[in-house]
C-alpha cells in the first residue's frame, strides 16, 4: 500500500505570538509538526504496519520544515519529499494544493492522509482542494479509519453523534483529534531518520506554471487579539448583583 501524508510545520502551540512589521515573527520560535498532521502520520504508520507498503511524507515549506519530515521519519515514515517554497509568492491554500497535486501526480498512491487543518492559518482547505485537483474522493475530520481491500470505512463526529461513511481507494482523508494517539518517536527511530531518503524539490522541478500559483486571497492586516482584561466579581445581595449585571451588560459591555 502506498500511503502519502501531507504535513505542515507550524509554531509549537505553546509559543507566544509576536508581530513585527505587520508580520508574525518566527524569531527563536519552536516548530512542530502541525498537531492534526501528526494524527495523519500516526495513522499512516499503522496502516503501513497492518497492510505493508510505504509511507511518504510530503511538505511544502522553508528549509527548517525538513525537521518536521525527519520527525515523521523518526516516528516511522519511510521517506520524505520537501518542496522549497522560496519561489512561491503570496501563496495561499490554493497555491499549496496546486504544488502538492503536482508532486503527487508523479507518485503512485492508494491513500493520502493529512490533518484536517493547520493550527496556524486554520483554514482547513488544503486537503479538500488537493482531492479535487487529483479528482479523487475525500472525507474530512475522520476519527476512525479502516481499510479492507479497496474498501474504506471511516467514522467522523457529527454534532455529538458518529457518522460512518464507506468509500473506496484511492481516497484522501483528513484527521481530526481522536483518530489516534500519536506515538513518541523512539530513540533508534531518531537515529535512523537521517539516513532515510529525503527528496528536495524546487517549484521548477514540477510541471507547473509559476504564474498560476499566486494565491487567490490577500492578507490585508495581521494583528493580535485585544488583551484580556481582568474580570469583575460582583458583590452584595443576589438581587442587587443581578440588577448590576444587567446594567453592566447593557451599558458597559453593550451586548443587550
Amino acid at each position: 500500500m502506498n500511503i502519502l501524508v501531507c504535513l505542515k510545520q507550524t509554531f509549537d502551540t505553546e509559543e507566544r505570538i509576536t508581530i513585527e512589521d505587520g508580520q508574525i515573527s518566527d524569531d527563536g520560535v519552536e516548530f512542530v509538526i502541525n498537531p492534526y498532521d501528526e494524527y495523519a502520520v500516526e495513522e499512516a504508520i499503522r496502516l503501513r504496519d497492518e497492510h505493508g507498503g510505504e509511507v511518504t511524507v510530503i511538505t511544502v515549506g522553508p528549509d527548517r520544515a525538513e525537521q518536521a519530515l525527519r520527525t515523521a521519519m523518526a516516528m516511522g515514515a519511510d521517506k520524505g519529499i520537501i518542496v522549497d517554497d522560496e519561489d512561491l509568492e503570496d501563496a495561499d491554500e490554493y497555491s499549496i494544493a496546486k504544488v502538492l497535486a503536482a508532486v503527487i501526480d508523479d507518485l503512485e498512491y492508494d491513500i493520502i492522509l493529512g490533518g484536517y487543518m493547520a493550527v496556524d492559518d486554520g483554514s482547513a482547505q488544503v486537503g479538500p482542494r488537493l482531492a479535487e485537483l487529483l479528482e479523487i474522493p475525500h472525507i474530512s475530520t475522520i476519527t476512525k479509519l479502516t481499510v479492507d481491500g479497496d474498501k474504506v470505512e471511516v467514522e467522523k463526529d457529527v454534532e455529538g453523534d458518529t457518522e460512518t461513511i464507506e468509500s473506496k481507494l484511492p481516497i484522501l482523508v483528513t484527521a481530526q483529534q481522536g483518530l489516534n494517539e500519536p506515538r513518541y518517536p523512539s530513540l533508534p527511530g531518531i537515529m535512523k531518520a537521517k539516513k532515510k531518503p529525503l527528496e528536495q524539490l524546487d517549484i521548477d522541478d514540477l510541471d507547473l506554471d509559476e504564474d498560476e500559483l499566486e494565491g487567490k486571497t490577500k492578507v490585508l492586516e495581521t494583528f493580535l487579539p485585544p488583551e484580556k482584561e481582568a474580570g469583575k466579581i460582583l458583590e452584595g445581595e443576589l438581587e442587587d448583583q443581578v440588577k448590576e449585571l444587567v446594567g453592566l451588560l447593557r451599558n458597559e459591555a453593550k451586548v443587550i
Binding site: V32, A74, Y184, I190, M191
Partner: protein, 380 residues
Amino acid sequence: MNFDLTEEQQMVRKLMRDFAEGEVAPGADERDRTKTFPVEIFEKMAKLNLMGLPFPEEYGGGGGDSISFAIAVEELSRVCASVGITYSAHVSLGCAPFYLFGTEEQKQEYLVPLCQGKSLGAFGLTEPQAGSDAGGTRTHAVREGDEWVINGSKCFITNASYAKFVALTTVTGRKEDGSPEITALIAPTDAEGFQVLDSYVKMGLHSSNTTELVLENVRVPADHVLGKIGEGFKQFLITLDGGRIGIGAMALGIAQGAYESALRYARERVQFGRSISKFQVIQHKLADMAMQIELARNMVYKAAWLKDQGRKFTKEASMAKLYASETAMRVCDQAVQIHGGYGYMHDYKVERFFRDAKLTEIGEGTSEIQRMVIAREIGC
C-alpha cells in the same frame, strides 16, 4: 564554533520534552507525597529504547551521544528530579562501568539487559565510613576457591531495589605500598546474604530509590570482577567524571523547571495593583536566574561535548556539576521567594524542586570535593 544542536539532538530534546510533559509530569506531586517509585515510567522509556541512550546499538543501546543524554536528564528533571536522578544514575553509574570496563561477556550479560531496561543500574561506592573519601572503602572480598566472599555495607545507593545486580567497590588486598587494593565486583542482588534496604527518610527525591546494601558472606564466582583486579579506584574516578555530567544536567533541569514556574507566577500574581513581574526587584531575580541557567547549560553541554569528542573532560564536568548544582539551589530559593507563601506549599511545586535540588550539591562528589578536583586540574 557552533552552538546549534544537531538534528538528532533537537529531536531528542523534543521527544524528551513531550515525554516528560506527557508521562512524567502528571503524578509527579502525588508520587513525591506518597514516595512512590514510578516503575511504569521506566518501562515506557525502555520501549522507546531510552534506557541505554548513549551506548552502541550492538549492546541494545540507542547510539546517542552524551549531549543527548544530558538533554534527556535535563528534560526529565525539569518536571520530576526523582525520575531525573533515577535515569541519570542508571545510565552513568549503572551502565557506564560495564561499558567502560567490562569484558565482552560481561557487556553481553549485564550491559545488554540494562540498556533494554530489564534491570535498573546501580553502583555501590559510598559506605558509612567512606563518602567523599571513597578510597576508604571497608567492604572487603576474600578469595575462597573459585569464589569471592564479600562482607560489608554500602549506603545511599540509588536504584538498588530495582537492580538485578550491582557493581560494588571492595577491598581485595593490599598493594605493595600498603594502600588498599580496590576491586569492583559484580554481585546479583538476590544472592544469599545480600540485603537491599529501602528505609531512608529523605529530604527530597521522594520517588527515587535510595538504599542501604548489607552484604554478609555473599559469594560470587571468581569471574565477577568488573574489568581487572585492583582497578576499582581508577574505575570509579572515571565513572564519576561521566556521572557529573548527569548530575549537572539534573541540576540544570531542576533550575529550569523552577525558573519557568517563577516566571509564570510572577506574570500572573498581582499585588499593589500591578503584576509583581513589573517590580524591578522581581525582574532582577528572574534575570539572574535566566543568566545562571544559561551559563550552567553551556557548561554542562560543553563537558558532554568534550566527552563526545573523546577529549579530557574531568575539569569541565566538575565545573559543570558544581556550577549547575549551586545554580539550582539559588534558583529554587528565589523561585520559592517569588511565589511567596504559595511557594512554601506543595501544590506550587517549587518547594519540591527546592528539596530535590539540594542533592545535586552532595551526590557524585560534594561541592567541596568538586572545588578540590578543579583545583587539582588547574595545577594547585
